[in-house]
């Protein structure tokens, strides 16, 4: 894995990093790439409150904030920025405000790679709105200053529209970090059920979680 000058991750919800790119980030971090994770909301409208429920609507944002911090520690991310936008509202937010905040991060960090959701193919409106704001903010930079964008997508039938993922990362060596990231989000996932009695070397676990996929976003 090549070392990146700086990687900027922009996602809307605590736990968006866990299944889709935590292994990739751990792999980049091991290769010496600095990572900044901008998480736009606290996922405070989530419906999962733990089983049995230990969170409520009032306590959920603080609980998810602590889970996000634990997930970042598990992955090795030391620069976590939480923006405090309200969950589910990003598509209705002042789009210039959103784009401006991401633009300020791009100016500060000058990342060589940005990881986010693929706008239009990421299912949840907050995912799409985040990817769209990132792409607009980067699109405003001169062409030779734009970082590469690797985007996550999982809409049905997406391959007809945007083809197959062109960045496929083998993270079998980083399952420990990935599962610790998933496990950190205790209110959202039942990590123990995923693992069962399996070890990290279990072929089924490696097959299911060992690869992370991205699409390079192409600016026209």
């Amino acid at each position: 894995m090549e070392r990146e000058r700086h990687i900027l991750v922009v996602l809307p919800h605590p736990d968006d990093e866990a299944f889709g790119l935590s292994g990739t980030l751990a792999k980049y971090i091991e290769a010496g790439s600095p990572v900044t994770y901008a998480c736009l909301t606290l996922g405070e409208m989530g419906r999962n409150m733990g089983i049995p429920p230990f969170a409520n609507r009032v306590t959920l944002p603080e609980i998810r904030k602590a889970e996000l911090e634990a997930s970042c520690r598990a992955i090795g991310i030391s620069d976590l920025r939480m923006y405090g936008f309200h969950d589910k509202t990003l598509e209705f937010e002042d789009q210039a405000l959103l784009e401006g905040q991401i633009g300020a991060l791009l100016d500060e960090l000058k990342p060589s790679l940005v990881l986010t959701f693929y706008p239009g193919y990421a299912v949840h409106p907050d995912h799409d709105a985040t990817g769209a704001a990132v792409v607009r903010a980067i699109g405003r930079l001169p062409e030779n200053e734009r970082p590469r964008v690797h985007a996550m997508a999982f809409a049905r039938d997406l391959e007809k529209a945007i083809g197959k993922p062109d960045v496929v990362v083998d993270i079998r060596g980083f399952l420990k970090q990935k599962l610790a990231s998933i496990e950190a989000h205790r209110s959202q996932f039942q990590a123990a059920e995923l693992m069962g009695s399996k070890t990290l070397e279990d072929p089924e676990l490696q097959e299911r979680f060992g690869t992370e996929r991205f699409w390079t976003y192409r600016f026209e």
Binding site: K88, T89, E91, E93, P125
Partner: protein, 114 residues
Amino acid sequence: MQLIERTAIQERIDRFKDQDLYLHLEMTTGAYASHLDASKHPAATFVTNAVVHYSLGSISGNGPYRVGLKMAHGWIYSEGLTHYEETDTERLILAGHDGQGKLVVALQLSREPF
């Protein structure tokens, strides 16, 4: 009621911003949800004639639609909207109806109480 036309709704949302309004916001699974299907959890909630004031609002999606209204200290959000009352130009009457035509969600704004 007729199927939502996004531009007509956006125009009304813009017309109603920056003023005190009466809000009716409702969601219901129907009182018989668990009687008809034991796996369903019956739930309903509404607020009627709460006074609200928003500075920014929009409709999104390709149907069913979503609406978000930004207030000084919070948000009004509604998902699953399908229909609006086209003859009522002084109020914004939005609803989401399921496959049987039953109301599931409603978002209504008016300058006078409902």
